[in-house]
Symmetry: C2
Subunit: 260 residues, 2 copies
């Protein structure tokens, strides 16, 4: 039994473990180095096919994607929306700038499509857990690239084959409560494709692609308590064939979207 308690883990088990004692991240910090240090202190043994799930918030912080709201000049549209719904016009302006397309904007909620193609509330602009009263984070420019870079550094340091996911916490149109989704993926397929495989009765399973990266993000989200500063979770025992992967696999194309 190793210090993280795993011995000959059967294929039918998944273990999710938090990395504790991570610092408050600043722009320019070395995220991989901080993760390696926290893992060493926590007695983590790195194994092949461990998936490192990292909250978007700290990736945005180390990449400097923090915006001083005092430097944001709200336009007319932002001012009107802010007045109508009692919001901060600078924050609304920032959301409009981060959005490639506004999907819905009513009753005080903005649902927008980001440059990356993700559809989410406030185009990923978020004020929680950002030091300073007048700052907000925006999404990384290239979350797949962030995941790739983190994965490469961790693999070099540990000598094992890893995967990385950057996750963000989103609402859903027809369900209450937030669930984490993957916005950056490296080293594993974002979609697990069962199409063409037989079901237990030998009939083809129609239209069954599971969103593995989102399942992983949701699972890790259970441990990423929103005020407790546990933004990194390791997932061991997940079965997948290593491949480059991309969160873009999860983006529904316009022609497939029934819900515009």
């Amino acid at each position: 039994v190793t210090s993280n308690g795993i011995r000959d883990m059967p294929r039918s088990q998944i273990r999710l473990t938090t990395l504790d004692g991570l610092p408050e991240f600043q722009p320019g910090d070395n995220l991989a180095a901080a993760i390696l240090m926290a893992a060493r202190r926590g007695g983590i043994v790195w194994r092949d096919n461990t998936v490192v799930v990292v909250a978007q918030k700290i990736v945005s912080k180390v990449e400097g994607k923090i915006v001083e709201l005092n430097a944001v000049e709200p336009g007319e549209r932002a001012q009107e929306f802010a007045r109508q719904f009692d919001k901060d016009p600078r924050l609304i302006e920032l959301v409009l700038r981060e959005a490639k397309r506004i999907v819905r904007m009513e009753r005080g909620v903005i649902i927008a499509e980001t440059r990356h193609g993700f559809v989410c509330a406030n185009a990923g602009v978020d004020r929680s857990n950002v030091p300073g009263l007048d700052r907000a984070t925006v999404l990384p420019d290239d979350p797949d690239g962030s995941a790739r870079a983190l994965r490469a550094r961790l693999q070099t340091a540990t000598g094992v084959r890893l995967a990385a996911i950057i996750s963000d916490t989103w609402g859903r149109p027809w369900r209450l409560g937030l669930v984490d989704c993957a916005i950056g993926v490296a080293g594993l397929p974002a979609l697990r494709d069962y199409r063409g495989l037989p079901d237990r009765q030998g009939r083809p399973l129609h239209a069954t692609r599971l969103a593995l990266a989102d399942q992983l993000a949701a699972a890790a989200g259970m441990l990423m308590e929103k005020s407790a500063g546990r933004p990194v979770v390791l997932a061991e025992g997940v079965e997948f064939r290593p491949q480059d992967g991309s969160a873009r696999e999860l983006v529904r194309g316009e022609e497939e979207n029934l819900f515009r």
Copy 2:
């Protein structure tokens, strides 16, 4: 170290374990007894606050929610839709009967609201993994009740405090790939409420309710391989305050729904 390999599991770890060797379920089967037997054979040690996640499909089967398609007489609307999109008119008729309201019906896809208030494809009607070519399952009448009954039986037999979730595999409007969601909940809060709690900077976390039951369903879904017959997953180490719970906590009311 117990036979399922856990010793003094810290609070910051979650372990997901499949129950292997479950039978092909038939109407009237005792699901709790089958789970207890598989757990005994698998050397599972039951612990307080273990969450038992069960796929909807086997709950529907034991509750006899299997429909012979030959007994379904398609109406005009079903026939027209089936002709237009090359579908089985009996299956479409069944979807229309299971739906309280049709949300979208175009390009060969039916998104419907079920009697329970869930919005999902085909109102939960599903043909995969049902023995016999001309049969489909429909959702349980009262999935919360199914979860409650299962939880009560397992608690009585094991003497520990458990929670139960019935999960189904759903698509998402703006994301490709399916993710499991909770349709029945007993013994834990479906929503974990962080509203009013401070973030790391002491500012209130706005609008943060995490969909714990959906996170658990998604996590378990990683292990419920669609053709491998692993429809039950145990989750240990999840932090929650035991309470009745209900999947209805996750249903977005009409007035909160931006996406109609």
